[in-house]
């Protein structure tokens, strides 16, 4: 007997009794559609792994610790690209985190309603700028700016730091990639954090203020702890976006295979190397090695995404039990 509890959701509102073929058809059709996500994930994993297998078999895990991309010696390795990916993504995250959280605070706690209504869509519009356009801007506007103005300033004042230790000669370098990636992930992180901060129960916030806390102390004492896990998830999602970005990075990073400490040298990342070389890879081993890079990228993004989604679901579950 079908007794639907009021809050059990629409799925529980099944109707037993007369068999309605329409129900069955809709059920099957929508089920197939819903499985598409899982099916696609499985297909992607399978195809990419299959195409990378010859390189994985030949190089094994040494691939991850070799810095080389030598067609002649038939030696390929991902180490410099993993390094480049790590530097650019974590560098972007480092810059983006305080900025995004500050923007989210501004738009959820500090700004008056009118300003909020104007600035929020503007920040989200930044996310809508296509990556290829950011790359174009990076090549023709940001690059020269870095070489002519920003980098000499940084090198002149902070040149003792290894990351600023060389004088940049060309606009295609790791620093440009970091800046472009930062611009890309700030709107992502800030919009998630904004929603999080808006979701903090007002009683908790009011309570802190009533006890005499300043706004900042309230944020630090109530909002941040409450939203802690969600902020972590947002950062992981932003990191995932930065790691996976191929087009804008390949346009500004200079495609160099070595590992440098200075940010003003050229470098390369996993995604960027795939984008720049895949179309023209003319030996089978090179193709398979490039797909091996894609496997590394895929593994990382799967882990990061599952982690972030688990955190988000745990937080949602915890906070909805009131």
């Amino acid at each position: 007997m079908a007794t639907a509890t009021p809050s059990a959701g629409p799925a529980a509102l099944q109707r037993r009794g007369r068999f309605r073929p329409g129900d069955a058809i809709l059920y099957v059709v929508t089920l197939v559609a819903a499985l598409s996500g899982v099916v696609l994930l499985g297909l992607i994993a399978r195809e990419v792994l299959a195409d990378a297998w010859p390189a994985m078999h030949k190089f094994g895990f040494h691939f991850l610790t070799t810095t080389a991309w030598d067609q002649n010696k038939k030696l390929f390795g991902a180490e410099s690209f993993i390094f480049g990916t790590a530097v650019t993504s974590f560098g972007a995250l480092l810059l983006a985190t305080p900025i995004s959280i500050a923007i989210a605070l501004f738009l959820s706690e500090l700004a008056p309603r009118g300003i909020r209504a104007v600035v929020t869509p503007l920040v989200e519009m930044l996310a809508a700028v296509p990556s290829v356009v950011l790359g174009l801007w990076g090549i023709l506007v940001l690059g020269p700016f870095i070489v002519n103005t920003l980098a000499p300033a940084l090198h002149g004042t902070l040149g003792f730091l290894p990351i600023f230790s060389t004088k940049p000669s060309v606009g295609s370098n790791v620093f440009a990639a970091i800046l472009v990636l930062t611009i890309m992930i700030v709107p992502i992180i800030s919009s998630i954090c904004r929603e999080l901060f808006l979701g903090v129960p007002t009683e908790l916030k009011d309570g802190a203020l009533a006890l005499g806390a300043t706004r900042w102390e309230m944020i630090r004492g109530v909002v941040f702890p409450y939203a802690r896990a969600g902020i972590a998830a947002a950062l992981i999602l932003g990191l995932g976006r930065a790691v996976g970005e191929a087009i804008a990075v390949t346009q500004v990073i200079g495609n160099n295979v070595a590992i440098h400490w200075s940010l003003f040298e050229s470098g390369d990342t996993l995604a960027s190397r795939i984008a720049s070389q895949y179309q023209g890879a003319d030996t089978a081993l090179q193709v398979h090695s490039l797909v091996y890079l894609a496997v590394i990228l895929l593994v990382f993004s799967l882990v990061a995404n599952v982690l972030a989604q688990i955190i988000v679901r745990r937080v949602a579950g915890r906070h909805s039990v009131r």
Binding site: P10, A11, L13, R15, I103, L136, W137, T214, Q309
Partner: protein, 299 residues
């Protein structure tokens, strides 16, 4: 509070001043950060607008790219890229929209909670797969040995679009009150009737918003097209069984040329692309606001 001190002393105390100062500093930093973000947006859009405006004229929308001829090339444009993008994006929408909506219906209306969680997780994870990996997947799966076509490019974009549409549709479906469903079922309507004729119409606004935002998002994607529809000619073609030109790839290829005339074309194409993406996103958000108000009003 000590007996001899007054309230004003307390507020003028050293600690209070420090706390106030910190608060002020943080508030200023937050404002600065927001201003920074807006400034960057303005700088980027202004760069594109200023440098691309010179390329915009009627020829730009009606002619095709000039070949690499030296000397004085005739006026050229991006007509083939605009049409190509419209077709490729259209194919992606045709593929992703129905599947996304149907998937969301299953997840919200039919699926037991556990299964729904798993399938939703899968969609969210799919959303996070880098576009370049999806491009490689479609290349290995469909293009090798068979050739590039615009349909395969549309398919790659559809994979990107599917989780977005499914998620946004699911969210709107969840907003529809159960009382509506219960009333319909109580009146004797079948489940499928209820879903399609009662629940779904309530969500059209949200679906359109989500689909529009997703369309704007994929219209700017370059990586999936790089391996599926990049070997194109310079003429206007509407044949999706062949590779078609696209705005993002045009920008990508023109961006690194040395010729400043090609740079101007790239900026012009970027302006067209940005205008389309931003206008569509803005429209979708305005629409979302109005439909949200309506849903709230009718409850």
């Amino acid at each position: 509070m000590s007996t001899g001190a007054s309230t004003s002393d307390f507020f003028r105390s050293e600690r209070m001043r420090r706390r106030r100062a910190t608060n002020l500093l943080v508030e200023l930093l937050a404002v600065a950060a927001a201003l920074l973000a807006v400034a960057v947006l303005v700088i980027v859009v202004a760069s594109v607008a200023k440098r691309g405006a010179g390329a915009i004229n009627i020829d730009f929308f009606t002619k095709t790219p000039t070949l690499l001829t030296f000397g004085n090339p005739p006026p050229s444009g991006i007509a083939n890229a605009i049409i190509g993008t419209a077709i490729i994006v259209g194919i992606a929408v045709l593929m992703a929209l129905p599947i996304g909506i149907l998937a969301a219906i299953y997840l919200n209306e039919f699926a037991p909670k556990r299964l729904a969680n798993v399938l939703t997780l899968a969609l969210d994870v799919l959303n996070g797969v880098p576009a370049i990996v999806i491009g490689i997947f479609v290349f290995v799966f469909l293009v090798v040995g068979h050739g590039q076509t615009a349909i395969k490019g549309g398919f790659a974009l559809a994979i990107l679009m599917l989780p977005l549409v499914a998620r946004s549709t699911q969210e709107v479906l969840a907003l529809v009150p159960d009382s509506l469903r219960e009333a319909s079922l109580a009146l004797g309507a079948a489940k499928w009737r209820t879903t399609l004729s009662v629940v779904l119409p309530q969500t059209i606004g949200g679906i359109v918003t989500g689909a529009t935002l997703a369309t704007a998002r994929i219209a700017g994607e370059t990586a999936p097209l790089l391996f599926t529809t990049s070997l194109v000619g310079n003429d206007i073609s509407t044949d999706p069984s062949k590779p078609l030109a696209s705005l993002p790839l045009f920008i990508f290829n023109s961006a690194e040329q040395a010729d400043p005339k090609l740079h101007e074309q790239a900026w012009g194409a970027a302006l067209v692309l940005i205008a389309f993406v931003l206008v569509v996103s803005l429209l979708a958000r305005v629409f979302a606001l109005r439909s949200r108000r309506r849903l709230a009003g009718e409850r």
